[in-house]
Amino acid sequence: MTQPEQPTAGAVHTGHPTPLTYFKVAMALVAITAVEVGIFYIEALGKGIIPVLAVLSSSKFALVAMFYMHLRYDHRLFIGLFVGGLALAMAVVLALLGLFKIFV
């Protein structure tokens, strides 16, 4: 019978954030969403609103992925699987937008 052994490095993610950290992340997400909706009504921003909203949305995505999905603490292989899929998805989006000459 195999003796119980310690997990290999990265087999499990350790050092989970505390509930307080989760709450702070949630408040940051709500604040960013409020900013997004707020600046949406500022007509003076014109087309400048697009990169601003893109950056804010990416920040929210990153916060959820890093803290709630524990990617910040997890094994590199898990990160690779998710980020690989995400990168391919981004490539598909950009290829399609380029193919149909959107933004050109």
């Binding site: 697009i50 898990f78 899929g85 998805a89």
Partner: protein, 247 residues
């Protein structure tokens, strides 16, 4: 043969060639592939944006305040999901049950918002205050969308108010087709997530959810957070960019 040993945080550790749980690898591979699935749907929506020949268009039907509230609900559900997982690894089954049920309820609330929104779009009506149109009220006319403006000549035959139903469905135009396909598939993901969460909630009463088997909850949590991050992108790209005239 794989078997489990107890490790820090009460997580299940399987003896595999990588030292990583195959189930966790599988869920990450699935989420990576789902990124491509939603990426294609989002790209299709963006490619066909502004190509619809008939209305209604995004600026006619979208209500940013209502969608902001449903976005807030989904973000809060992600927080309650991590709190459910956190409670479980700390050994609090009661805390787990409270938070996972909260997550499922918030998920159902989001679905209720989506149902309300879809129903609202399907019953969309063009309303024109013909008295103000006849009086050439500049403020009123400037506030009309392009689609509403096409109905201005119809005011000639009406004294007070013009009203006509032009519901948005999958078949109405390219906007309807791409919008309902994208958000419909997201809604289906949320529905599956709610069923998964409720299954874990009820399973916990049969002793099936324990700190030693927290991986079961971790997998559901990863799926749920993924549904949340997809919505973060949809909210910005479809809703906020959708009604922005310069985009």
């Amino acid at each position: 043969m794989a078997h489990a040993t107890t490790v820090p945080h009460g997580e299940e550790h399987e003896e595999t060639t990588t030292g990583l749980s195959h189930r966790k690898l599988l869920i990450w591979a699935f989420l990576g592939s789902d990124c491509m699935f939603f990426g294609s749907l989002i790209a299709t929506y963006m490619v066909y944006r502004g190509k619809s020949l008939v209305g209604p268009f995004p600026e006619d039907v979208f209500s940013i305040p209502v969608t902001s509230v449903s976005t807030f609900v989904l973000l809060m559900s992600s927080m309650s999901m991590v709190l459910a997982y956190s409670a479980l690894v700390r050994g609090s089954i009661k805390g787990f049950r409270i938070w996972i049920l909260s997550t499922a309820v918030l998920g159902m609330t989001f679905l209720a918002f989506q149902t309300f929104e879809f129903r609202d779009f399907a019953n969309y009506e063009v309303h024109l205050d013909c008295a103000r149109v006849e009086a050439e009220d500049a403020d009123y006319l400037e506030g009309l969308t392009d689609f509403e403006t096409t109905f201005l000549p119809r005011c000639a035959a009406v004294d007070e108010e013009f009203s006509e139903q032009h519901g948005l469905t999958l078949k109405t135009n390219l906007f309807g087709t791409t919008f309902f396909t994208l958000t419909g598939f997201h809604g289906a993901h949320v529905t599956l997530g709610v069923i998964w969460l409720l299954s874990l909630f009820f399973y916990s009463f049969r002793g099936g959810v324990t700190p030693e088997r927290s991986l079961d909850v971790d997998l559901a949590a990863l799926y749920w957070h993924f549904v949340d991050v997809v919505w973060i992108v949809i909210f910005t790209v479809v809703y906020l960019f959708g009604v922005f005239p310069g985009f």
